[in-house]
Amino acid sequence: MPIAEKDVTWVKPPKMGLLERLYLPAIAQGLQTTLKHMFGKKVTQQFPEERPQLPPNYRGVHRLNRDEEGRVKCVACYMCSTACPARCIDIVAAPSPWPDREKYPEVFVIDELRCIYCGMCEQACPCDAIELTSLFDLTGLSREEMMFDKEKLLSVFDQTATKGEDPIRTKSGRLSIASEPNV
């Protein structure tokens, strides 16, 4: 249905005055703005030397947490790989060698190139075993290199847990409290 003529309001651009018509004052104004920025404070971060201040809930590379005995916390329940929208988590479960749980992950591989870093695996995990860290500058020379297996993910935990930037965040799990000896 076309719009009725009475519903239409024609808006005209405001009429220009003499000063605006001369065009030069406007240019001078523009130059003033750019000059101000020229001597203003710079916002550049010199990356490799200066590290960015990331927010505490930054979602970077994953890690697999360890419990206080140094074992992998994961119980291979497949909750994370089910929740994963990118389907980048591959788990193979096996009977646990330890008495306090039924299963443990024999293979736990995350394709870091396929992952969209949404953090839903972390939300889904019932025992705080998988978490996202603040590591963001991961690089590799091949696709295979970017498939992070269990050892690699555990080593990410060893790297980050003690640094202070990435404390264990979620506390809803039933299993051990891990890596926080004083709690």
Binding site: G17, R21, L22, Y23, L24, I27, G30, L31, T34, H37
Partner: protein, 410 residues
Amino acid sequence: MHDFQFWPTLITIAVVFGILQGTAGFLVYVERKVCAYMQNRIGPNRVGPYGLLQVLADVLKFLFKEETLPKKADKVLFLLAPVLAFSTALLSFAVVPFGATEPAPLPPTPPAAMMQSATPLEKQQQAAIETEYQKKVQEYRSTYQFVIAPNIDIGILFIFGISSLAVYGVILGGWSSNNKYSLVGALRASAQIISYEIPLGLSILGVLLITGSLNLERIIWNQAEQGFFGWNVFIQPVAFLLFMTSAFAECNRLPFDLPESEQELIGGYHTEYNAFKLAFFLLAEYVHMITTSFLMVILFFGGWHFPIIAGPETGWFLKLIVFAGKVTFFILFYMLIRWTIPRFRFDQLMALAWKVLIPLALANLVMVMIVKEMTWPEWVLLPASLAAVVVAGAFALNAPPRPRVAPRGD
């Protein structure tokens, strides 16, 4: 007048072209730095201290890129275009003074030999004037002039002639690439440069009328003799504005860079160029920028003259410094404008040239002619030209609105 001296000229050419090309390369770095500072960034700072070796890195990159030729390009013209663009840009610098210069002494009038019915006393006076003149000529010949071809009486005309050849580089490059984007860029360039050459030429006619010479050394001298307020910019501010605007358009610099607007035309006329052929085009653009900055300083800002610091009697070094300082200021101004004003639409570009710049230039020319004819003092031109601008603005204020284009299908 000035005998051609082979070795000094050759050395001057070598030094000037070397410095010119080095500066043009360096200006790429300056441009990036200025742009970065304006956008609150730091800019290139990784190669060498403060990123100063970036120039070297850029040149090496251009050198080591693979030379490619589009399959359907017109090979000869395709290779000729960058050479033409670059060589014309350099050639126009031949008559531009870049340091201390003085005009050649004028021959005494009337010459002694022409006087038929001269008394012995008069003949003696004439002979004295003649010897004085010869002495001045000797003195002039013995001093080094900071220009490749000194005492060219058609100076500015030569520059305009050569710089209008520069458009061939752009047109041939766009045409021979056999690429639609290149062709559109080239067509825009031809229309734009031809349009803007008119106000460019008209705007300096006033200056030439006041000086009475096309010789660039004499134009500088004329301003220097009259001191700070003798600079042409104080006598003809409108002419300076028109000249600067047209020069921006001639150099294809923003806000008039339609021939190479990357958003619409990828790279415009140099879309198909790479490696050192592209570097030639870019260098030509920067050399044009340097040349026009020199021209602005020479024509309107007194060349090497600066009150207190450098007058007609000071040494060459100070003059060189003053000249370089002024030119640097204008080059930086070019960059400042580039990152401040957005690009014009094509119809706006044409309207600016034909409806604003050319009428204003004509009005300015008529004003200068009236003042010269009536032998009024030259400072009258300052308020007169300002008034001309305001009147032009008032005209635009009362212009009838553009007819609204009727919607289709009615």
